[in-house]
């Protein structure tokens, strides 16, 4: 076990590592539904421009990605590929569930073919509510995730409650 993983690294080193990790989040492009267009706005629109936060939306494969943004409706047919690609991502990995559909099913809460919440198949770090969320909401989700990464103990990943943009609790 290395120094970092054992939790015995000096504080300054931990801070530096976390700073590097939060400023080079490689976000996997996974457009599923309407939210994908808002996600694309965040990625390439000059008005929002996520790259100034250090999020790089260019990994062509899930194996190069740190951040997975589930943007849109997850159907039962799409759920196995999502799980599979999530498992291909290298640790440490983070998941943002964007939009009502990915959070809980959204307007398709009574549909026969929609998975009600992507958190049934993969763990989620940040929930961004909205249908679709405005690009600013996704940006806030990314910023909150970066704050969490900055304060993270590298030895104890995956602890704590998920973040909900705009407040609220998970019941």
């Amino acid at each position: 076990m290395s120094l970092v993983e054992s939790g015995r690294s000096p504080k300054a080193l931990t801070w530096l590592l976390n700073y590097g990790r939060k400023r080079s989040l490689w976000a996997y492009q996974w457009g599923l539904a309407c939210c994908a267009i808002e996600m694309a706005s965040v990625y390439v629109s000059p008005r929002f421009d996520v790259m100034r936060l250090g999020v790089i939306p260019f990994p062509a494969s899930a194996r190069q990605a740190d951040l997975l943004i589930i943007s849109g409706t997850v159907t039962d047919k799409m759920a196995p590929p999502i799980r599979r690609l999530y498992e291909q991502m290298p640790d440490p990995k983070y998941v943002i569930s964007m939009g009502s559909c990915a959070n809980c099913g959204g307007p398709y809460w009574d549909s026969y073919s929609v998975t009600k919440g992507v958190d049934q198949i993969i763990p989620v770090d940040v929930y961004v509510p909205g249908c679709p969320p405005r690009p600013e909401a996704l940006l806030e989700g990314i910023v909150l995730l970066q704050q969490r990464i900055q304060n993270e103990d590298p030895a104890e990943r995956w602890r704590g409650e998920p973040i909900i943009v705009g407040g609220g609790v998970i019941s």
Binding site: A33, R47, T73, T75, P81, Y108, D110, Y112, S113, V114
Partner: protein, 394 residues
């Protein structure tokens, strides 16, 4: 012999030599067949379309689209919703032009109820419909470049699309999914100062079209990648039920905005040209959409100029109960002809809704059009056919 003729002779000779070399290699190497899955997660598929292609070397032997990864069960869900709730759902069919989805359904409901929206509502509906078209097609105009490796147009497209979305948002309150259409009219009137702002935005969009003209259409790489690629003859296009710009790019002059004056919308008061292109290739599809965007801005300008005064809502009961009957209304949506077949049994909600979406028919030509093309052209052709996954799977 002039210079150009020499060049073309050289090109011809080089082409023949290349073909001969290919044939030799094929004979010597005995390329083995291979099945390739494009998707369900692939940037070129605009979402989650999966296309299974059988390859011989780099040539496609057959291709088979596998839809259903975005199937959300719209037609079943519409049966358990009330009429005002249905528009919330069907906003999300073709998510790039949400307002345009509501219009045919509301028109069908109005037809069953026997009411018609007042002229001002019709005008505002048409203006917002065309704005939805702009929001949709500007993205295509940029995205097509991205599929060919030119990243710059995407940034331009998103930059100018934001302005159109701003206008939709300031009028309807929804940036993406307005849910603004009501049976018998629209929800609100236009805000103050909207008309002047909208005209500025139309000017911006026209400048954007000129930029695309210079960046892409005049570009040699773009032309060689798209001209003569994915040719759809007009007879085949009609057989497969293509509609919208895909059909007009094959030379069929058919546009419901002009050809169906029975639709109670304001297109008949605007003067616009329906562009067609005889070639039917990827370039034609791009070019037709580019011209269409310009025409749309002109339609909006004209309608803004002679926007009539008056009410925006006709007299309808507070709780909408549609009498028994059936109606089918189709309009020319950004992607093609979209129609709703609404069956009512006199309830608060529809008994059955059949949704005819353009992308489903447009993508049905994929097995025909992809046979024999090379793998990089698969991406070009799919991008130029321009489908939205929510529109295919519903």
């Amino acid at each position: 012999m002039t210079v150009t003729e020499t060049a073309s002779e050289w090109q011809k000779a080089a082409y023949i030599a290349g073909q001969a070399a290919d044939a030799r290699v094929n004979v010597e190497l005995e390329t083995e067949g291979m099945t390739l899955n494009i998707g369900p997660q692939h940037p070129a598929t605009h979402g989650t379309l999966r296309i299974v292609v059988r390859l011989d070397g780099e040539q496609v032997l057959w291709a088979d689209p596998v839809p259903g990864y975005m199937h959300r069960g719209y037609e079943k869900l519409c049966e358990v919703r009330k009429y005002p709730q249905v528009t919330t759902l069907i906003n999300r069919i073709d998510w790039l032009s949400s307002f345009a989805n509501e219009v045919p359904f509301i028109l069908a409901a109005e037809e069953l109820l026997g009411v018609e929206a007042p002229p001002r509502a019709q005008y505002i509906r048409t203006i917002l419909f065309e704005m939805a078209r702009l929001a949709n097609i500007t993205l295509f105009l940029g995205d097509m470049g991205a599929q060919l490796g030119a990243v710059t147009p995407v940034f331009y497209a998103f930059r100018d699309r934001e302005h159109v979305l701003d206008m939709i948002e300031s009028a309807t309150g929804g940036r993406f999914h307005p849910n603004f259409d009501r049976v018998g009219g629209i929800k609100d009137d236009l805000p103050k100062g909207w008309i002047a702002e909208a005209k500025d935005v139309m000017e911006r969009v026209r400048v954007f079209c000129d930029q695309m003209d210079q960046l892409l259409v005049g570009n040699e790489i773009f032309q060689t990648r798209t001209r003569g690629i994915g040719v759809v003859p007009s007879a085949v296009a009609l057989d497969y039920g293509l509609s919208g710009a895909n059909l007009r790019a094959s030379g069929v002059d058919w546009d419901l905005r002009r050809d169906d004056p029975t639709i109670p919308m304001a297109w008949k008061h605007a003067d616009f040209k329906v562009w067609t292109h005889p070639d039917g290739d990827s370039f034609a599809r791009y070019w037709v959409r580019l011209q269409e965007t310009r025409e749309s801005t002109k339609i909006i300008d004209q309608l803004l100029d002679d926007l009539p005064a008056g009410p925006i809502m006709t007299k309808v009961p507070r709780i909408i109960k549609i009498p028994e009957g059936e109606a089918y209304v189709q309009t020319e949506n950004p992607l093609g002809v979209m129609g709703y077949y609404v069956v009512s049994k006199g309830d608060l909600g529809p008994f059955r809704v059949k949704i005819r979406t353009p992308s489903f028919n447009n993508i049905s030509i994929a097995p025909w059009i992809l046979r024999g093309v090379y793998v990089p052209d698969v991406i070009t052709i799919l991008a130029s056919l321009y489908f939205i996954l929510g529109d295919i799977d519903r």
